[in-house]
């Protein structure tokens, strides 16, 4: 057997390429067979070769299938670095050559797959797109609804302001002129012959009646007066007037502090007219000497009672629908108004022992004042 050293050199056994360690995002992958979390984006692969010749001259070549188009250039380095890998299946192949340029037949392989991040999946994109569309749709509609509501409120506000202004102007101008007219009639009455004097006086009274009626309407329209306190004051004044004109004693009972509640004009209007009716019944029909008016709030209801010590009437008459007298009409009217407010009206009356009219109205209709 002849050994040719030259030949022996070149036909040297090829080195065996070995992958030593893989770092995924700086952390070692154990075991090497697979990349467990599959989420790594940066890979460092350390490798070496078992060579019998000068290991410093061992050269390497590697490629990452699905990432590198071809084998990379030969290198003496023992480290392969990949950054920013996209999700997918990969195969790292490594081969080595000895100092004489004899390449290993077999390659060392490290196969792995990178799972996509949530935001890299298509359901995520579809979901996001749908979500974003829904959100925009929702925001758009909310904005539209808000603008519509604003517009509606503004329109309502404008109508209310205008209505109040018209009523106020009418009241101020017409009211002052009617008051002036009544005074002029009073002056004329002084000099008028007796035959027409009474008529002129009653005309003056008519003019004043018109002003009073107008004042009540304007009062219920003006939002300046929509607190419960203001309402109580207005009712008290009405009670004083009724009692004074009929020469009756008046006794009022109000809590020291009334809740800070807003009563809208329409509710004020009905409630005021109902109570006015009750007061006028007591003053005109009852033959009483004393009227009691109580106003209080309890259990989310506004309660008002008007009590007189007059002659009263027979209770069964009350609930029959047919009430021929004006008194009966008044009661029916009162019932209707209180019912319109979702309230209750209770009348108790005993002959010769007076009448008690009890009104309860739920306050949930009222707007709660923001503190």
């Amino acid at each position: 057997m002849v050994i040719d050293p030259k030949q022996a050199r070149t036909s040297e056994v090829a080195p065996l390429a070995v992958i030593e360690e893989v770092l995924a995002d700086g952390r070692p992958v154990v075991p090497l067979s697979r990349l467990a979390p599959g989420r790594a984006r940066d890979l460092q692969i350390r490798y070496t070769a078992n060579s019998f010749l000068d290991p410093r001259r061992t050269r390497f070549q590697y490629r990452l299938v699905h990432h590198d188009a071809d084998w990379r250039e030969e290198t003496l380095d023992r480290l392969a670095v990949y950054t920013n890998l996209r999700p997918g299946d990969y195969r790292f192949e490594l081969r080595a050559a000895n100092a004489h340029g004899v390449w290993s037949e077999a390659t060392a392989v490290f196969a792995f797959s990178l799972a996509p991040q949530v935001w890299q999946t298509w359901p995520f994109w579809v979901g996001s797109a749908v979500g974003a569309s829904l959100l925009m749709w929702f925001l758009h509609h909310r904005r539209i609804a808000f603008l519509r509501r604003l517009e509606r409120l503004e329109r309502a506000q404008a109508v209310e302001t205008e209505r109040t202004r018209i009523a106020q102007d009418l009241h101020d101008d017409l009211g002052a002129n009617l008051t002036g007219l009544a005074l002029k009639l009073d002056l004329a009455q002084r000099q008028a012959p007796e035959s027409v004097s009474g008529q002129i006086k009653s005309l003056a009274g008519h003019a004043r009646g018109m002003v009073d009626a107008m004042r009540e309407t304007v009062w219920t329209l003006n939002p300046r007066h929509d607190t419960l306190e203001s309402f109580a004051g207005f009712i008290a004044k009405q009670a004083e007037q009724s009692a004074n004109s009929a020469g009756l004693r008046l006794r009022l009972k109000l809590p020291e502090r009334l809740p800070n509640i807003t009563i809208p004009g329409s509710i004020r209007h009905h409630l005021f007219l109902a109570i006015k009716e009750a007061l006028s019944n007591a003053a005109k029909h009852a033959n009483a000497t004393e009227i009691h008016l109580d106003l209080w709030a309890e259990d989310d209801r506004l309660c008002l009672t008007v009590v007189d010590d007059g002659r009263g009437f027979v209770a069964p008459l009350l609930n029959s629908r047919v009430q021929p007298s004006s008194f009966g009409n008044g009661l029916a009217n009162m019932r209707q108004r209180v019912a319109a407010l979702g309230g209750e009206l209770e009348i108790t009356s005993t002959p010769r022992q007076g009448t008690k009219i009890n009104v309860r109205v739920p306050m949930k209709l009222f707007r709660q004042e923001t503190p």
Partner: protein, 208 residues
């Protein structure tokens, strides 16, 4: 001695008619009849009336502002506010400014003349709601003042009765005092309300 009455009212027919009534009724004589607050501020100090009938809703300078300005230079004049609407808040402001009474314009002239006479005699009407507002006002502590004007127990009693609907005669009977005494108390209450509101204004001004 007749009562000298000045008028401040912007509606011409009301002003003229009232002036005529005052002129032609014995016991009364007309001072000035002004149509604006500005006119009243010029005329009234030179010709002090016993009673001034003052419209609350005057254009530009309101009746309330007029009273506030005129009361210090006309301490002997009784200011009676004329109102068209039931606005206790504004009436109350006028009372704080120094007015001693108020009446609704829309009443027969006899009632207006009677109210003037009563005010001149020292009477001061007080409705239940105004009484209630006075009670509430005096319950609030004044900011930054120790020796504030307080109501006497008797005054509080009277206010309590008026707030419950008693007329002053009824209150007098209830307390066993004369109607005249009740009237004096009510006048004093108005005066304290006035003093208190000035103190309040000063406190506000000083930033207390």
């Amino acid at each position: 001695m007749s009562i000298k009455v000045s008028l401040v009212e912007d509606n011409a027919s009301i002003r003229q008619s009232l002036a005529e009534f005052l002129d032609s009724t014995t016991g009364f004589r007309l001072g000035d009849a002004c149509s604006t607050g500005e006119e009243a501020l010029r005329a009234l100090p030179n010709n002090p009336p016993d009673v001034a009938l003052m419209d609350i809703n005057l254009p530009r300078i309101s009746g309330i502002q007029c009273v506030r300005k005129l009361k210090p230079c006309l301490p002997a004049t009784q200011f009676l506010m004329l109102t068209v609407e039931d606005d206790s808040q504004r009436v109350f402001e006028a009372l704080q400014a120094g007015a001693t009474g108020y009446l609704v314009k829309n009443v027969p002239p006899e009632q207006i003349l009677a109210a003037i006479e009563e005010a001149h005699r020292g009477g001061s009407p007080m409705s239940s709601h105004i009484a209630r507002m006075v009670v509430q006002t005096f319950r609030e502590p004044l900011p930054g003042r120790q020796n504030e004007e307080k109501l006497t127990p008797r005054e509080q009693e009277i206010l309590g009765l008026l707030a419950r609907g008693y007329r002053s005669k009824e209150a007098a009977a209830e307390l066993g005092i004369s109607a005249q005494t009740v009237q004096t108390h009510v006048r004093n209450i108005y005066e304290k309300l006035h003093v208190r509101s000035r103190a309040e204004a000063v406190a506000k001004f000083l930033g207390a």
